[in-house]
Amino acid sequence: MLPKLSLKFSSRTPAILTALLASTVIATAEGKLTVYTYESFNSDWGPGPKVEEAFEAQCECDLEFISAADGVALLNRLRLEGGNTGADIVLGIDTNLMAEAAASGFFAPHELEVSDRYTIPGGFIDDTFVAFDYGYFAVIYDTDEIETPPSSMAELLSGDPEVKIAIQDPRTSTPGLGLMLWLKEIYGDDAPAAYEKLAERTLTVTPGWSEAYGLFTDGEVPMVLSYTTSPAYHMIAEETDRYQAAAFEEGHYMQIELAGKTTKGADNPLAAEFLDFVTSPSFQSIIPETNWMLPAAANGVDLNPTFDKLVTPEKSLLMDSEVVAENRKEWINEWLEASTK
């Protein structure tokens, strides 16, 4: 029985590989739009398949997603391709990378009047990028273990060092970078002291969001850095109120996710059509319960009432993308210095 099975596999191998090779060939025929995005966007449970279906019905064209690991990997793929890209659209760069992405010269202006569609607090105006969703970083806590969560960043920093939090490394992960900027925005030049205090409450600093969140849901740590929208997943998909976000008085740091057309996409009329579609209700209604972020243009979106239960920050914090690009290296060294004391 077993040898038979292995024979079957080996005789199928060449055919499978040929199929794999053939299917990754990107045709440059008309009526085709290639979108680079991050992996979880294009997973079978993510927004990708639904977006593809909705847009293809509208444009009568072929939409193809190609995925990179995350937003940083997306931009790096463009850099490796050195302008000779296969992508018409890049979807999934965030505000922290916006300045660098714009400076790379791989993107063309969108030339759309979309800024009045946004319902993002503080609004969003940019010539190159279109916003498709946003969210806030937040400390998520386990209600089984913590009765009164910290109500401010100051309380988090000065709280019981025996009650731990799992955070991410700003050198390797977007939420980690977000937390560092959040502290920097609140404390300015006093940020190193804040990093030091936070280090005392930190169980561990993981390379990515997945490890930290895995430790949290496995019950190893009662608090984790994630998004205000994380509880929505647990409430809607798992029907549990156990994990909640702590609202912080100082406000929450924001992340806006963006899409832009490449200089190659500028020649493809479908690219402009897609960017317009991204801010339309049909795209926006797909986002909340597949990408677990807030829609950037919520008008006309029938939002699941569970989202009303989420923490809505009184103040949203966001640093200018240029400032981040200029200072990131120095600030990361400062963080490293303070957290290794």
Binding site: L20, L21, E39, E64, A68, N76, T172, T204, E220
Partner: protein
């Protein structure tokens, strides 16, 4: 016990042995490996040179205290991890060999082949589930009134590294020990040698070289450890050079700095690897009788109980994280997840890619081993291995400290200048996985190949059995065991790979581990647990099938 002298075989003129240069198969492997590495690095350096100078980046990196701190911790944790893995592995391997075939031995060896195939995040969470705050073991220790220990920190890093690597050292040593001539066991029994003497005079000399080579592999794996060190290390104090390389490659996209850091990493680890390799002198078994079955020497019920008691802890140490994975992965949903089209696709892709890499790896390791044997024949298998022989074996390990993602990026840059790189996704994944699995396969095969060459080459030549006939009649039957071990190991390693796919993945090229990571990255940890369980079962199946065919033959 030198059969050479007593049988006078050492003086037989060995064809035109003195004319033998490095045979072409080994040369092909060497050149392809080199081309694969250079083909990646030249474009990367060229690309980097457009914006920055690698030389000045190297100077800058060497002057950076952050880099020095990272390097110091890297070497410290890697040395400790290697020492601990070897210290725990040596008694286990010597003991298992000494006991001959006992019930459960094959099961243990199969179990010991799985850890390296696990994506690190899966293993890390499984280990936390045992030794963490709410872990089974922690609960047990608390129940016994023992003091708590904190997993996060150096403890956690060492624990995870020993879990990954101790089994590897055992496997490599066991294959070397199985070459031990049957006469040894008989003589030991006739002389009623106690176990201490058997371990010291019979087994250790056979396993010494393999142990040193395994230690080199372990050291290199620990130097480049990333997820384990960051997640279990407890904070940025625990960091490796690999983290700095990753940072330079991703957020900074500073290829010059990344290349400089890789150069630093390769130099430092290569020097230490050379140091370790000095300890591993091969042992000449001479021309002993052909009966290399592992016949246990010790015996008796009392000793059996003793054996199981000694093996209990290490086996539990490796088995329990899997028990945790099974406990999380076997749910009413398991069958549903298994039959999902996405899972089936990922399974087929993973198995196809892994079997291609495994076949190539085994062929390449065989070719390398063939070259090493020829060179050893030139010195008539007498004396120490020459520098060229050592280089052939150890150069393959050097690739372990090159981040696969840099190799992938280099080929990406090269391909995109004339075609669409995604077309070659599968090819690049197979090639790089082959390169990464080669050091393991070579270490599993070369010791046995040397022993067999020493035993059969001269006679085969005298009888005029050469080329394909020698391969078919002599080599393949004798080397079936190490060949299959190398094949299964290479397949398992490629199955677990997640690094190259990160750059070449598209909606058509999703492997099982990349699916696990994607599920973990979007709240679906329940499904990720099930997929991790499926990956474990798949790897175990490969090991068992390899084993079964071997026994049938």
């Amino acid at each position: 016990m030198s059969g050479n002298a007593s049988l006078g075989l050492g003086k037989i003129k060995f064809g035109n042995a003195t004319d033998v240069a490095l045979p072409w198969p080994a040369l092909v492997v060497l050149i392809s490996g080199l081309a694969l590495v250079l083909g990646a690095f030249i474009p990367v350096v060229h690309f980097a040179a457009a914006s920055d100078d690698v030389g000045s980046s190297l100077v800058e990196a060497i002057a950076d205290p952050v880099i020095w701190r990272a390097l110091r911790f890297t070497l410290w944790q890697a040395s400790l991890s290697t020492i601990l893995s070897v210290v725990f592995a040596v008694p286990v391997a010597l003991f298992m060999h000494d006991r001959g075939n006992f019930a459960g031995k094959r099961l243990i060896l199969q179990l010991f082949s799985i850890p390296l195939a696990l994506p690190q995040i899966v293993a890390v969470l499984a280990i936390v589930g045992l030794y963490g705050r709410n872990g089974w073991i922690t609960g047990l220790l608390q129940g016994l009134g023992l003091p708590n220990f904190t997993l996060f920190g150096l403890t956690g890093i060492l624990l995870a590294h020993v879990f990954f690597n101790m089994p590897l050292v055992v496997r490599v040593m066991m294959l070397a020990l199985e070459r031990q001539p049957a006469e040894y066991a008989k003589i030991a029994a006739m002389n009623a040698m106690p176990w201490q003497s058997r371990a010291r005079f019979l087994h250790w000399p056979m396993a010494r070289a393999a142990c040193a080579q395994a230690a080199i592999l372990v050291f290199m794996l620990c130097v480049t450890s990333f997820t384990v060190v960051l997640t279990l290390g407890g904070g940025p104090r625990a960091t490796t050079l690999e983290v700095a390389i990753y940072h330079a490659l991703t957020f900074d996209f500073n290829l010059a700095r990344a290349t400089a850091l890789i150069a630093l990493q390769v130099t430092v680890t290569a020097s230490i690897a050379i140091l370790i390799s000095r300890f591993g002198r091969e042992t000449d078994t001479g021309s002993t009788l052909f009966a290399p079955d592992s016949v246990g020497v010790g015996g008796g019920a009392k000793i059996d109980a003793f054996a199981y008691a000694i093996l209990f802890m290490p086996v539990m140490f490796v088995a329990l994280p899997f028990a945790n994975i099974v406990a999380k992965g076997v749910t009413p949903e398991t069958l549903n997840v298994l039959t999902k089209p996405a899972t089936v696709d990922a399974l087929i892709t993973s198995v196809s890619l892994a079997s291609c890499s495994a076949v190539l790896t085994t062929l390449a390791a065989f070719a390398l081993g063939h070259g090493i044997c020829r060179l050893a024949a030139q010195r008539r298998f007498v004396g120490d291995a020459t520098i060229v022989e050592k280089f052939l074996l150890n150069s393959t390990a050097a690739v372990l400290v090159l981040p696969p993602i840099v190799l992938a990026a280099g080929w990406f840059i090269l391909f995109r200048s004339f075609t669409n790189p995604f077309q070659f996704g599968a090819v690049v994944i197979v090639a790089i996985n082959t390169l990464m699995a080669l050091p393991f396969a070579a270490r599993l095969m070369v010791p046995s190949m040397l022993t067999e060459a020493r035993r059969t080459d001269r006679l085969s030549r005298q009888l005029g059995i050469t080329g394909i006939s020698k391969l078919r009649i002599v080599d393949l039957p004798l080397l079936r065991k190490p060949l299959l071990a190398a094949f299964s190991f290479a397949a398992a390693l490629s199955l677990g790979d997640v690094s190259v796919i990160a750059l070449y993945g598209s909606q058509d090229l999703i492997t099982l581990p990349s699916l696990i990571l994607a599920k973990m990255g979007s709240y679906r940890s329940d499904e990720a647990h099930i997929l991790a369980f499926i990956l474990c079962v798949l790897t175990a199946a490969i090991m068992i099938v390899g084993d079964r065919q071997r026994r049938a033959a």
